[in-house]
């Protein structure tokens, strides 16, 4: 039995050290893990990096059976579908955020807020199924084509990122202190005056950061888009045609890679995707979003 007046016994000193070192080791391992991920991806991309060089990102022909791997269609698809998604989602998300932050009557604030958060929790494969069975026919009827297209992918993607975007934008707007808003109301401002002159300038960094963060997530989105994009490696201005994106290519073709170069090209795509999204998310984080410390 330890005599607390004399200090601790040996066992508790050892346990203390074990606990401290173990937890530190695990925490640091996360950094090592991330570095390892980049390294492995790079390693397995080497074959195609050395064989194809810069042409990988400029060539438009992706024909595995001919050992031709031009990633431009996939990159193009990623960029365009994400761009489409942002155009549709950003205004809606800001509208929802304004509603949640400033407009909703007390009784509705929580249910609507929680509903938006639940929408964000629905797995992307479910969005994909919904997109495939319910949205594709609509697009087919409205704009022609077979329904599986860049356009459908952009729309389904926008619905997918909308809840997250709305929630984080609302959180950013909610950081505005009440008395600052009241000061503007006290001068005869309307709700919109307060939003545009006070809240948005005050929360500007947080709002932009939230939007960029959502962009970073959208670019890596796989399942919702795989169902409705078609995985056709082509570049076209016609949005009703099928297309592909980097994640869609990976999802569809990874298990079919038959040659070393094919395999390596897919890894190069993975590396490219990781680097792009890492960069976008880092920009959001470090330039715009101060870390929210719950409870400080």
């Amino acid at each position: 039995m330890a005599n607390i007046l004399n200090g601790r016994d040996n066992l508790s000193i050892i346990l203390d050290k074990i606990f401290a070192h173990t937890s530190k080791f695990i925490a640091v391992s996360i950094l090592l893990l991330v570095a390892w991920i980049f390294t492995v991806l790079l390693q397995h991309s080497m074959e195609s990096i050395t064989a194809l060089g810069f042409d990988f990102v400029t060539e438009t022909k992706w024909a595995p059976n001919l050992e031709k791997f031009g990633a431009l269609p996939a990159i193009y698809g990623s960029v365009v579908s994400t761009f489409l998604a942002m155009i549709l989602a950003v205004p809606l998300a800001i509208g929802v955020a304004i509603y949640l932050s400033e407009l909703a009557p007390a009784k509705l604030k929580t249910p609507v807020g929680v509903s938006i958060e639940l929408l964000a929790a629905i797995p992307s494969v479910v969005y994909g199924m919904w997109g495939l069975f319910y949205f594709v026919p609509i697009v087919r009827d409205l704009v022609g084509g077979i329904g599986i297209s860049m356009l459908t992918a952009g729309i389904v993607l926008s619905i997918m990122i909308l809840p997250f975007m709305a929630a984080v934008t609302r959180d950013a707007m909610d950081t505005t202190p009440d008395i600052l808003k009241e000061s503007a109301y006290a001068l005869g401002g309307t709700r919109w005056d307060v939003i545009k002159d006070i809240i948005i300038p005050y929360a500007k960094a947080g709002i932009i950061g939230s939007l960029i963060l959502a962009l970073g997530r959208a670019i890596g989105e796989t399942m919702a888009v795989t169902f409705v994009m078609g995985n056709v490696h082509q570049i076209s201005m016609d949005l009703t045609l099928p297309a592909t994106s980097i994640p869609v290519t990976l999802a569809n073709e990874f298990t079919e890679a038959s040659s070393g170069l094919y395999y390596s090209s897919l890894f190069q795509l993975s590396l490219l995707l990781l680097v792009i999204s890492f960069t976008i998310i880092s920009i959001a984080k470090f330039y715009f979003l101060r870390r929210k410390r719950v409870g400080l």
């Binding site: 808003k181 006290a186 001068l187 309307t190 002159d197 300038p201």
Partner: protein
Amino acid sequence: MATIINIKEESVLDVKDFQFTYAGNDAPSVNKTTMPIAKNSITALIGPSGCGKTTLLRCFNRMHDLYPDNRYDGEILFKGRNILQAKEDLINLRIQIGMIFQKPTAFPMSIFDNIAYGMRLQGMKNKTELQDRVEKALKDAAIWKEVKDRLKADANGLSGGQQQRLCIARAIAVEPEVLLFDEPTSALDPISTAGIEELVVELKDRVSIIIVTHNMQQAARVSDYTGFMYLGDLIELGKTEDMFVTPKEKLTEEYITGKFG
């Protein structure tokens, strides 16, 4: 019941049988209150925390309307009408009855734009007119000299005391009739506090002032009339110089002599 003296000036606001209940509460936070607010004078509202003084203050410009389900009962008369009616034009009301808050609330914009904000809301676009009015407001708030060379600078670069003067300048720029001060110096150092108090006294020639303060000495220094509130009731309203020396209510005396609160 409450001891309310007859004020010798005309009243700019008249509170009549007024009661205020927060959303979701059964009991009112301000109980049936009747009091006059004297024109071109400073009326201080004092009392321990939770007595309802700030709650009452925020009724005069209907700040409570920003949050749903609050309830006003009774009347507050201003310029011959009851401002608690549903059809009251709140934007217009708030131009005529301005408010300064507990902490300086400089808007995220330049000093000039801060002062011009209220006027621009009303549609004033003429550059010269705006510049003149901004300059006048800043002079009236005794801060013109300090900022005249950096009107385009961000207002958040000013010190606390300067920012509060900025807020006062912003409020008087729209030429209100009444100014509501909600503990305006509670976040300021003693020197800035003295400066604000001096400014408030100067302003009473042009506006009628109601000031909520938890600092009795401040009330004694600046105000002409003082209203003491306790647990939602107005206990006594009297001339400041008399009330602090010979209060008529026992409760008032106990508060002033520091027995509670």
